[in-house]
C-alpha cells in the first residue's frame, strides 16, 4: 500500500466512512501533505464510496484545500482592508525578496509557498500572517523576514 493509501485509510477509520467525514478527511490529508494530489483524491473517493468528481468538486471550493502542489510551509499574508492600511504591501514585498518568489509561487526547494488571504481575524494587530496554522500578528518587514528565516532553518536539517 502506498503512503497515501495508508494515510487515507487511517483518516477514514478515525472519522467514519460517511459523506460527513469528507471535510475532516481532506483536512487531515492537507495537514500532512499540504495539498491534495489527484492520487489522494482518487483514494478518498474509493474509500468513502464517492464519485471522484464529488471529492474534487468539494475540495476545489475551499481555499485551504489546495489541489495544486504547495511547499512544506504555506505563508498567507492578510490582504484585507485593515492590514492593507497597516502596510501588508511591505510585508509581502519583504517576503517575496527573501524567498525570491512572487505571491502565488513556491520556492524551488519546495519549502515555501507564498499566498495572500482574506481577513484572518486579527485586524487590531495588523499586519498579520499565517504560517501553516501559526498566527503572527503585529508584523514589520524585519519581523516577517526573521520568522521566515526561522522556518527555513527549522526545516533545513
Amino acid at each position: 500500500m502506498s503512503k497515501i493509501d495508508l494515510l487515507v485509510k487511517g483518516l477514514v477509520e478515525q472519522h467514519g466512512k460517511t459523506r460527513n467525514s469528507l471535510m475532516p478527511v481532506l483536512q487531515g490529508l492537507v495537514q500532512q501533505e499540504r495539498f491534495l494530489s489527484e492520487e489522494a483524491m482518487l483514494v478518498v473517493a474509493r474509500e468513502l464510496d464517492l464519485a471522484a468528481a464529488e471529492v474534487y468538486g468539494t475540495a476545489s471550493f475551499y481555499t485551504f484545500l489546495d489541489t495544486v502542489p504547495r511547499g512544506k510551509n504555506i505563508v498567507r499574508v492578510c490582504k484585507t482592508i485593515t492590514c492593507h492600511m497597516k502596510g501588508k504591501e511591505d510585508i509581502v514585498n519583504a517576503i517575496e525578496n527573501t524567498l525570491k518568489i512572487r505571491t502565488g509561487e513556491t520556492t524551488h526547494d519546495k519549502k515555501f509557498t507564498l499566498l495572500t488571504a482574506n481577513c484572518l481575524g486579527w485586524c487590531h494587530k495588523g499586519p498579520v500572517m499565517l504560517v501553516n496554522d501559526e498566527i503572527y500578528p503585529d508584523l514589520t518587514p524585519q519581523k516577517a523576514i526573521e520568522i521566515i528565516e526561522e522556518y527555513a532553518t527549522l526545516n533545513g536539517h
Binding site: R19, N20, F64, I81, M85, N118, G121, W122, C123, G126
Partner: protein
Amino acid sequence: MEKKVKKVDIIFETALDTSPLDVLDKTLQRSADDIILELIDSGLKGRGGAGFPTGLKWKFTKNEDSDTKYVICNADEGEPGTFKDREILDRVPEKVFTGMTICGYVIGAREGYIYLRGEYNFLLKTLNAKLDIFNKALKDRNIDFQIFVKSGSGAYVCGEESALFESMQGFRGEPRNKPPYPTVAGYNFKPTVINNVETLVYVAMICRIGAEKFKALGTTDSRGSKVFSVSGDTPIPGIYELELGMPLSRFVDEFGDGDAKAVQVGGASGHCVPRKLFADTIIGFEGIPTGGSMMLFNSSRSMYNVLKDYLEFFTEESCGQCTPCRVGCQQLLKGIEAVKRGERPPAYLDEMKKLTGTMRIAAKCGLGQSVGNPFNTIIDNFREEIIY
C-alpha cells in the same frame, strides 16, 4: 446624559464563585419553557449579524417533532474587521459550551458542534482539551449532550448558516434556498439551532444574572451589550464590550484618532457612515446593526481604495452559485475601476446602484444581497473620491 460610551463586563468576566458548570446545574433545574420565556423577555437578539430573537429561534426548534436535533455554534467569523469570537473562544470557552448545553436541553438535542474557521486552527488543541473535560463533566452529570469541533477550510460564505451545514455534510459551501429554515431543516436536514459564539455566551450569562439585569442595558430595540471589534485608524484597537444603542459620535469620541472621516459599521457587508452622520446614527437594531466590526478611517484614507478592497473581497468569496451575485460583484468592481480611469462617465455609478438593487432582490443569500450596503453608502457619501 452620560457622554462616554458605557463599557460593560459580562462576556469576559470570570467570577470565581460561579463557574459555567454551576450556571449549567442551576439552569437545568428549570423547565425548558421557563428558560425560553426568560430569553424572550431578555430581548436577546442574535449577535452574528442578522439579529433574530434568540428565544424565538429556540422555541421554534423545540416545537419541531424530531428525534434528532442539533445545536451549532457558528465560529466561522469571516466578516472583515471581526475578531471577537476568537477571543471569546480563547478566553471563556466554558461559557460557550454552557450556552450550547442549555440549548441542547431546551430544544432536545444530544449533539452540539462548533464550526471553527480554518484560520483559527491554532485554537484547536486547547479547545479540544477543554471540551474533553467539559464533555466528561456532562457525562458525570448524566446529561445526554456532547460537543464536538468541526473545522472550516477558508470560505467566508460558510458562515452563512445553510452553507455551513452543507460544508459540515461534506459538500461545497453553497447556501440553500430558504425556506425551509434551520429550525426545521438544518444540519443533516434536522431541526437545528445555529447561534453565534457571542449569542451563546449571553444566554449563559442571562441564565446567571437574570433577564432584568441584561435588559437594564441598551434600548427597547437593542437590549443589552455587545462585543465590538475596533480596528483601523484608532489609537486603541481591540475588543470592547459596550452598551448597545449609543450614537456613533460617542463611539468616535472614545475610539477615533481625532480625524475620523468615516466608520464602516458591520464589516465589508455593513454600512459606511460619514462624519456628518455620526451624531444621528445609532449603533443597534433600530439604527445600524453590526456583528461587531467597527473600522475607522481618517482623512488620509481613500474611500475608493476601501470600496475596491471590499468588492475584491466579495468577488473572491461569492460562491458563484447564482448569477446576480457572481456576475454582479465582478461588474461592480470593474465598474468603479472604469469610472476611476475615466472610461465610464460618473453617471455609471448610478447604473451600478440599480444593479445592487437587483442583487438585493435576486441573490440567493445574504452575501449577494448585502453588497449594496457598502457600495451605496460609499458612493453616496464619497462620490468625488470614487470619480477623481
